[in-house]
């Protein structure tokens, strides 16, 4: 039995010891413990160090709002994580934990020297210094500041765990399973509505688990909770524990993070560690309760100083007495119950120091009965103790006068500054908050979503009130679903209602400018920091927060926001709401990146599309490149070949005899209907009316701004049917653009669009032997009437096919389209039939080289979204007689017809060297920087012609044919001559062969 564990007490399993380590030392806790409760049971309060001053700290809370007790945890390789709240992490066998932000030891930390110089490290000090000498900033100051960053250490290995996600649609989502949430769920579940009740803790019941003496409807609290949960389960309510509602998004979408395995000794194989639920609820009930506020006084951060409610929770849930001689300082009635319960469990309560002059008689009586002295009308001015609190100094307050203090010995100090409703999720909805002057707190005001707020979350106190409110909220949610239910009433015995007052810093007889009275524990923000910020002109709470970093620690201000606001308001002489509201931002508590990733990792990070021929490419050693969503075969290296060698071989083989290429990724759109030709005329720059069925044409598509968007060869299969091809990356975009025009601008046209990209597998054959090889395999084509730029429906290798005679290489070329299921069959058949011609499979790189030799552009490479058809030398593709087409009007804008536009030309280097794609071109290489650049290289390749070729856009390029330009590179200036973009077979002799 650990020193501070009370035998048999709490909800932990006293028969199930669990061992774990903290900073290398082994401890024993019990099943059901958190790391914090287990350490406290062992008398360990010192659990961490603060961020700026490295002050020793212990757990101040018992929940997810904990700012101090942050630890590193690990399970195995790749499973380390920093900044885990010891108050949340459940014990599991073999858990390894470590403290953070200390060197060399938690109990002796060199960084604590900052604490000695704390007067220098005032709010915003870094804005005021480290500026001279200027050169020191980069070399000395900034590295030192950055070196001091952070709390825990980042993981350094890849995480082997899985993460999951799930959508959930539910009628009523109740967030928080304390008294109010359970009552709300009971109400909502009564008419068969689909109800989901979630709670961030391992067990449902909320504060009832820390208040076992309360009786509801004649049952002790714990029994009541158990019975109600059973009722809810029986009614089909979804109950989810260890599930944090992290964010409240548009239209009642709530993100829930469910922790599935961190508490398990041995998680099942393949089980996800966490699951993100994206819940769409018709109605939401927020029953998140309230968070206890610390009091602000010098030394309020020593290990052993904690919230009174936390001590009560450690006692009742975990059977842990946080100290033998606790003292209590409070401005709220609730702390008395913690003191009473501890006293009843054998602690000797040194004193209850109450800041209020008048204390409720029943509380005084309770104290008297237990022999506890109550110092009403007192303040706390300081505490003592290095690694653990040893005493607290209490001083009487008369009006504004603080009298002489006396030190009261204690081994822990429980504080309560009252309670703040937990309104984080409500704030995510942009619902407005109203200031309640009576309770000095913000309460929910105007709602923007279909939600109800119940219980302590809207400032109610005492179980009877909270239960009634929860039941009513559940009923209203039900009404929101147009369902009826009846109201419920609860009788509560031993209720613990209470009230309190709110303070800024507690009054002191010392120098308040020297007090280390903390507001944001983790970030070491003190009351004087807030006052300094105000003195320096920070008037809004956002400025104060950012200047001091108050509320920006990992508890996101759960502990500190209201205290900070009260003090800022006091300093400004304003009411808190005039100073402004702090904005709560998701997530409610820090949430692992893995949970957000869900399935978006590894193979399923992003969709990868593969063609029907991809398996062959993979089996035959292709190197792939990602192109839009697809992976495409880039080149097919043979043993010992690098990319350059492989591509040159593929190019030469194609030019010499026959190459084969998987072109399946090309976008394909079937444009069909009586108005198909009219539609084509309107969309594309080219004229289509006179294109005969059975023939193809290069099509150019502009945006309405006149710039090139896409291109492709388009075949007319019948008067009413066009087979449109698009670029790989443009397929979806082009279809959407066409649909947009068709549906919204020209709904009168009788034409329809169908994506057939995936219906067809497309294999391109190119080379002087292409026709010879293909002919015997084709049936249904009249070869006497099938010149370059023809198309036909036929069979190829016995497969139904659409055959296009076209070329993207300058050689005789075909594209064979077969239904996708036959793609691999066709490929294999062609490879077989091509053997006599040394058929050579090639990838996208060879395709690029061959097309560049021929001067064919790649949209997106040779054009960049500012290129018009004229700029690209594609004037000929414009139907001059057409009155209108998409983008036509823009082509006559002043700067589009102006001289000096960049135009697409060819480039040949004088020294025969290869230019870099993206290299910049100048006319005068000797000019100083910044140089006047006239264009850049868009495409550049080693060609089959023995010298490299390049394409470039150059200002006024068409008028500069034959002129020399310069390309200054880091290793010297290249000279190049401007040429036509057609380097290979300018007369198309090979195409017509």
């Amino acid at each position: 039995m650990s020193r501070y564990r009370i035998s048999g007490k709490g909800r932990v399993d006293h028969s199930a010891p669990v061992s774990f380590t903290f900073d290398g030392k082994t401890y024993r806790g019990l099943r059901g413990d958190t790391v914090a409760s287990a350490l406290l049971a062992n008398g360990v309060h010192l659990m961490g160090r603060s961020f700026k001053y490295h002050r020793p700290r212990g757990a101040v809370s018992a929940g997810s709002e904990e700012p101090n007790a942050l630890i590193g945890t690990s399970r195995g390789k790749g499973q380390f994580e920093p900044n885990t709240r010891a108050t949340v992490q459940e014990l599991r066998d073999g858990l390894v934990t470590e403290s953070q932000n200390k060197w060399p030891h938690l109990s002796f930390d060199i960084g604590a020297v900052n604490d000695r110089a704390y007067m220098l490290f005032s709010a915003g000090f870094y804005y005021k210094t480290f500026m001279w000498p200027k050169s020191f900033w980069d070399k000395i100051y900034e590295p030192v500041i950055r070196g001091a960053a952070g709390l825990g250490k980042s993981p350094t290995e890849v995480d082997p765990d899985r993460y999951a996600s799930r959508y959930l649609h539910t009628d009523v989502l109740v967030i928080g399973a304390g008294a109010a949430g359970i009552a709300a769920a009971l109400s909502a579940a009564q008419s068969g509505a689909d109800v989901t009740l979630v709670d961030e803790n391992a067990e449902m019941g909320g504060s009832l688990l820390s208040d076992p003496a309360v009786q509801i409807d004649g049952k002790p609290a714990w029994d009541w909770v158990e019975a109600q949960l059973a009722r809810l389960r029986a009614a089909g309510v979804r109950l989810m524990t260890r599930t944090t509602a992290i964010g409240y998004y548009h239209q009642n979408m709530v993100g829930l993070c469910q922790r599935l395995t961190d508490h398990l000794d041995n998680p099942p194989a393949n089980a996800p560690r966490e699951r993100m639920w994206r819940v769409r609820a018709e109605q939401v009930v927020l029953a998140q309760g309230a968070l206890e506020k610390p009091l602000v006084f010098d030394g309020n951060d020593r290990p052993g100083v904690m919230l009174a409610g936390a001590a009560q929770t450690y006692l009742h849930k975990y059977g842990v007495k946080v100290g033998d001689t606790p003292a209590v300082v409070t401005s709220h009635d609730s702390a008395y119950f913690a003191a009473f319960d501890l006293a009843d469990s054998g602690a000797r309560v040194a004193a209850i120091i109450d800041t209020r002059d008048a204390v409720r008689p029943d509380l005084l009586e309770g104290a008297r009965k237990r022999g506890i002295q109550v110092l009403s009308g007192h303040t706390v001015t300081t505490t003592k103790g290095r690694l653990r609190v040893k005493s607290v100094r209490a001083n009487p307050v008369r009006g504004t006068h603080v009298g002489a203090g006396r030190d009261i010995a204690c081994d822990c100090l429980l504080m309560s500054g009252g309670w703040t409703p937990s309104l984080h999720l409500f704030s995510h909805t942009k619902g407005s908050l109203g200031w309640d002057a009576g309770s000095n707190t913000f309460l929910p005001d105007r709602k923007t979503e279909a939600c109800e707020i119940a219980g302590a979350g809207r400032g109610l106190w005492g179980y009877e009130a909270v239960l009634a409110d929860g039941a009513a909220a559940g009923l209203r949610a039900l009404e929101g679903l147009n369902r009826a239910g009846h109201s419920a009433a609860f009788t509560v015995a031993n209720d613990r209602p209470g009230t309190g007052v709110t303070h800024t810093e507690l009054p002191t007889d010392g120098n308040p400018g020297k007090a280390k009275a903390f507001i944001d524990f983790q970030n070491d923000v003190t009351a004087k920091d807030i006052r300094l910020a105000v003195r320096e002109g920070m008037r809004s709470i956002e400025h104060v927060k950012r200047y001091t970093t108050n509320g920006m620690a990992t508890d996101q201000g759960k502990m500190s926001n209201i205290n900070g606001l009260m003090i800022a308001a006091d300093a400004l002489g304003k009411q808190p709401p005039q100073v402004g509201l702090t904005t709560f931002r998701p997530p409610y508590t820090p949430t692992s990146f893995g949970a957000f990733c869900g399935y978006l990792r590894g193979d399923t990070f992003q969709l990868t599309r593969k063609t029907p021929i991809d398996p062959w490419a993979e089996a035959n050693g292709a190197v792939f490149e990602p192109v839009a969503q697809w992976r495409r075969a880039w080149y097919f290296p043979k043993a010992g070949e690098d990319m350059h060698a492989a591509v040159l071989r593929e190019c030469k083989a194609t030019r010499a005899s026959l190459g084969i290429f998987d072109a399946s990724t090309l976008g394909k759109i079937e444009v069909a209907g009586p108005d198909a030709v009219e539609f084509m005329n309107r969309m594309y720059t080219n004229p289509w009316t006179k294109l005969q069925p059975g023939r193809c044409r290069y099509g150019l598509l502009l945006g309405e701004d006149g710039f090139i968007r896409d291109d492709g060869v388009i075949g007319r299969l019948s008067p009413d049917l066009f087979h449109v091809t698009t670029t790989t990356g443009g397929a979806a975009r082009v279809l959407t653009m066409m649909e947009d025009y068709l549906q919204t601008e020209w709904p009168d046209l009788d034409v329809w669009l169908t994506s057939t990209t995936e219906q067809w597998a497309t294999v391109a054959l190119n080379g002087p032997n292409a026709l010879k090889m293909l002919k015997p395999l084709v049936e249904g084509v009249d070869w006497d009437d099938f010149p370059h730029m023809s198309c036909a429906e036929c069979t190829v290798a016995g497969l139904p096919a659409r055959l296009f005679r076209l070329s993207f290489t300058g050689e005789v070329g075909f594209e064979v389209n077969v239904p996708a299921r036959h793609g691999l069959t066709l490929w294999t058949a062609l490879m077989e039939a091509g053997k006599p011609y040394d058929i050579c499979p090639y990838g996208t790189e060879t395709m690029h080289v061959l097309r560049a030799e021929k001067g064919y552009i790649i949209v997106g490479q040779d054009t960049d979204g500012t290129v018009t058809p004229q700029d690209a030398g594609l004037d000929w593709a414009i139907g001059k007689a057409k009155k209108d087409f998409v983008g036509k009007r823009s082509l006559s804008r002043p700067d589009i017809v102006a001289k000096g536009r960049k135009q697409l030309v060819g480039l040949l280097t004088e020294d025969g060297s290869l230019l870099q794609e993206g290299a910049q071109i100048v006319l005068d290489p000797n000019q100083p920087k910044p140089m006047k650049m006239v264009g850049h290289v868009t495409s550049s390749y080693q060609s089959t012609m023995g010298h490299p070729i390049a394409m470039a856009v150059i200002e006024g390029g068409f008028d500069k044919m034959g002129e020399t330009v310069f390309i200054p590179m880091p290793d010297g200036v290249r000279k190049a001559r401007i040429t036509s973009t057609v380097f290979y077979d300018p007369d198309n002799a090979r195409l017509k062969a």
Binding site: P268, A271, L607, K610, E670, W752, T756
Partner: protein
Amino acid sequence: MTNQKHQFDASPVVVEDLAPALRLSLRVKPAHRETLGRALGLDLPTRVGSRAAANGAEALCLGPDEWLIVAPEGTDLASPARAAYADAPHSLVDISDREITLRLSGPAVLDLLAACCPRNIAAMPVGAAARTVFDSATVILWRDGPTDFRMDVWRSFAPHVRSLLTQVRTEIAAGL
């Protein structure tokens, strides 16, 4: 393609590849819907997501002028459609090979779908269908029974969808 089952022991979800079928995308304006429907022997439904079957063929209304027709391979619907073209201009495109169809069934099938479908699939009536999204893939989901679905997915998206389905099935099998 065979009716291959990817089944784990005692798995609460079964994922199977279905054999190819004839799949046609039909587009016709509302004014000519009935005429064309008669020609095809199908009463083309008008409510998006509803289905009608006749003579072994089934038509699903995907949009106000769009139907997906599924029929056994070899069914000739193109000829009657062609014959009605003058009276009822339309577009009828063979997309049999554009998609593959998976059958998803078993008691946990709704969990499986809820992993990646943002739409409330549980609320979809039996006998309905919808074009929707599964993760980043557009799919057509047919509900044939309370725990019995078909999913049409574009061929190139299938590896991704299969990989996700496998991950989620593994997760469901782990029981957490």
